[in-house]
């Protein structure tokens, strides 16, 4: 994947995409604001959510062992996976043991994070996404662009085209004469998916929460397709990040209030499914839980960054982020886009490893809208700045980039008033030289520069720059006040 500024260029040039994103995030933003406004104690709920997650993370090992014991007591098999490779191997192994060549999936970010579909394909197993938006993404051979609304970048006409073109090759084709009416599109997906639910022997799910005390996994969703996945097949495998554990049902209560209002702008999720182990003759007869680390303990070890593990994947930060609204999710090059992705990816993968990951902490103007919206109060701007310093530190010692040289020079000038005064006198001299080229005049009468050589061109490609004044404040003060 290219670094963020390069990847963003494509989205910025796509006016249809920009319109789709602005419309969709604007709509969800307004819905969220309205339902959050209904809750008088919203701030207390946020504080409670953050505190529960922090306390749980502090003793994560104990809670995970409790969860494991409770799951086993109810007949589930627990697998521990250190990384993507181990987790995929477990799921592929279960598929092989049952001789299946297809599985149905309910939307799971963790399985996307580990690239499960691709690994299953290598083993001759096809994974069918059953969440409507995920289905659109999968049929369109596309990548999700949003945590909650993976096909947010697509409009109705595009979805109709994808269904008509691709459904036939993947199973039941789209009905003849399909229009772009939302109800008709949903109906086509329903028929297409029903065939898959009834045929599949094995399902793969994620989990929004894992309640340690009772060994219960919880999935919240809007369509009911998830519940079909969780109840129809004989074998159910759930891939769960280790940060998803909550100690008790009363802890869960807080998140079931925070999550739907923050994510879909609803008071309650249409479907909340909870399952504990297996029940003979009812539902899946074999249940596996893969507890996934894949960088989470690395994030946990980061004093400032660990707060990112509070994330409940609501995507409120995406919907309020002005950067996300312009670039969409693909520019972040990961299953976790937007402000949370900009911190979560470097925390999980580590900085200084590749240029793409290192570009993510800079994919923000630090406006703070994400922190304001986050239901578990993750101070995303704080973590972004912290990770930026890690990126810079990871590259210290090597050949310095122009930026590092510039920062060192700026630091030298700005750490001494006399040096700054001299530099400003230089600007005054530059004024006389530059204003000869500054043909433009700003409203109010000041001259402006509109074409500077690199790196100034990064500014003047789109913006005029006021010409430096003849005299700095400092110099004026000396003359006038002394």
């Amino acid at each position: 994947m290219p670094a963020f500024p390069v990847a963003a260029r494509e989205a910025l040039a796509d006016t249809q995409l920009r319109r789709n994103l602005a419309h969709a995030t604007g709509t969800i933003r307004a819905k969220r604001a309205a339902v959050v406004g209904e809750v008088a104690e919203w701030e207390e709920l946020r504080l409670a959510g953050a505190a529960i997650k922090d306390n749980t993370l502090r003793r994560l090992d104990e809670h995970l062992l409790t969860l494991e014991a409770a799951l086993q007591a109810r007949g589930a098999t627990v697998h521990w996976a250190r990384d993507a490779r181990e987790a995929c191997a477990v799921v592929a192994g279960i598929a092989r043991d049952h001789g299946v060549d297809e599985v149905v999936k309910v939307k799971s970010m963790a399985t996307q994070e580990i690239g499960l579909n691709e690994v299953l394909a290598e083993h001759g197993v096809t994974a069918w996404e059953t969440d409507l938006a995920e289905l659109i993404v999968q049929l369109g051979d596309d990548l999700p662009s949003h945590i909650l609304v993976p096909a947010i970048h697509r409009n109705r006409a595009e979805i109709r085209e994808i269904f008509r073109r691709e459904m036939g090759a993947a199973g039941r084709p789209a009905p003849d004469g399909l229009t772009d009416d939302p109800a008709e599109l949903a109906g086509a997906a329903r028929l297409h998916l029903r065939e898959k639910f009834l045929r599949a022997k094995m399902a793969v799910s994620g989990a929004n929460f894992a309640v340690a005390e009772s060994g219960t996994l919880v999935v919240v969703e809007s369509e009911g397709n998830g519940r079909m996945c969780l109840t129809l097949p004989e074998v159910l495998v759930s891939v769960v990040g280790i940060e998803k554990v909550v100690p008790t049902w009363s802890d869960l209560d807080v998140f079931l209030q925070l999550l739907p209002r923050s994510s879909t702008g609803e008071r309650m999720n249409p479907y909340t499914s909870a399952w504990s182990g297996v029940t003979p003759g009812d539902g899946p007869q074999e249940m596996h839980v893969v507890l996934l680390d894949n960088g989470r303990t690395r994030a946990l070890a980061d004093e400032v960054g660990r707060q990112a593990l509070r994330c409940i994947r609501c995507s409120a930060c995406l919907n309020v982020c002005p950067v996300y609204e312009r670039t969409g999710g693909h520019a972040y090059g990961s299953v976790y886009p937007g402000p949370i992705g900009a911190i979560l990816n470097p925390l999980l993968k580590g900085v200084g490893v590749d240029e793409q990951t290192d570009s993510l902490p800079y994919a923000s103007s630090l406006c703070g809208a994400c922190f304001e919206a986050c239901p578990v109060r993750i101070d995303i701007p704080e973590v972004l700045v912290h990770l930026r310093s890690q990126v810079v530190d990871a590259h210290r010692g090597g050949a310095p980039k122009p930026e590092a040289v510039a920062m060192k020079a700026a630091s030298w000038v700005l750490s001494d008033a006399r040096r700054l005064g001299l530099a400003e006198r230089g600007l005054g001299v530059a004024n006389r030289a530059l204003t000869r080229f500054g043909r433009r005049v700003l409203p109010g009468g000041r001259r402006a520069l509109s074409r500077l050589p690199w790196p100034g061109s990064l500014w003047t490609d789109a913006r005029d720059l006021p010409a430096p004044p003849r005299e700095s404040f400092r110099s004026w003060w000396r003359k006038e006040k002394r």
Binding site: F4, P5, A8, R9, L12, P322, V323, R326, Y362, A363, S364, S365, L366, C367, G368, A369, F371, V385, L387, R388, S389, Q390, V391, V392, D393, E403, A404, M407, K408, A410, S411, W412, L414, S415, D416, A417, L420, E424, L427, R440, L442, P443, G444, S450, P455, L458, W459, D461, A462, R463, D464, L465, P466, P468, P469, S472, F473, R474, W476, W477
Partner: protein, 241 residues
């Protein structure tokens, strides 16, 4: 009450008139403020780009320049936010807690006027149609709320019109403006469109850095909209008109 003005490096070198306006305004309100000449910068450009080692000597100069003042007032929500919320980070890096001691005494201009001096009418006169952009750091890092609006509403002759999507970032973001120039200008273009939609002649904000970005875009678009810092508006009187 010993009061100092943190003019900020951008105002000092690019917008000296804003610094002069702060002194004119404070003098009119009976505050005899100093300009500690040892001041340079709050260190935010380094901190926000991740160069903490490089920020240490800058913040040390800051702490040295402003030691001994009861209040430090600045025409920048962003620099006030940085001093209050980031100097602790730099102090930890340097292993020197004294570097964080002056930060809490820094007030953004509207906070100082309303909270410390207790005034909302500063006897200003500015006969123009104005729209106001609440900059992100004033709004979210400092939580200045409607203090700037209270001050603007009391200005005689000023016709204040509401800015659509006012709370959305303008896209400046310090080095973000050049590291992600495309995204930055896309955000700024939408803000500039909202500004033009209001029909205002003047865009006012509490940070010249945001106005540098927005003014640059509005100028390139030949919009005719002038950008003016809050301090310059509040310092204006009938004699200036």
């Amino acid at each position: 009450m010993k009061v100092a003005v943190l003019v900020t490096c951008i105002n000092d070198s690019l917008f000296p008139d804003t610094g002069k306006a702060v002194f004119r305004l404070l003098r009119r309100l009976g505050v005899d403020a100093d300009f500690p000449e040892a001041q340079t910068c709050c260190g935010q450009p380094m901190v926000n780009t991740g160069y903490l080692d490089e920020a240490v000597p800058v913040v040390r100069a800051f702490a040295h320049a402003f030691a001994g003042y009861d209040h430090i007032v600045t025409p920048s929500g962003s620099c006030a936010g940085s001093a209050r919320h980031q100097h602790g980070l730099v102090a930890r890096r340097a292993g020197d807690p004294r570097l964080a001691e002056t930060g809490p005494k820094v007030h953004e201009l509207s906070e100082f006027l309303v909270d410390v001096l207790g005034v909302t009418d500063v006897n200003a006169y500015f006969p123009h149609r104005v729209t106001y952009h609440p900059t992100c750091h004033s709004l979210r890092m400092l939580g200045v709320g409607d203090k700037p609006l209270k001050l603007l509403r009391a200005v005689r002759g000023l016709d204040l019109v509401e800015l659509p999507a006012a709370e959305e970032c303008c896209g400046f973001g310090g080095t973000f403006a050049v590291k992600n120039a495309g995204t930055s200008t896309a955000m700024g273009a939408d803000k500039a469109r909202h500004v033009r939609d209001t029909g205002a002649e003047v865009l006012v904000a509490g940070d010249n850095s945001c106005l540098l970005h927005l003014g640059g875009l509005l100028s390139r678009q030949r919009s005719g909209v002038r950008v003016v810092h809050l301090a310059d508006v509040l310092a204006s009187t009938e004699e200036d008109a």
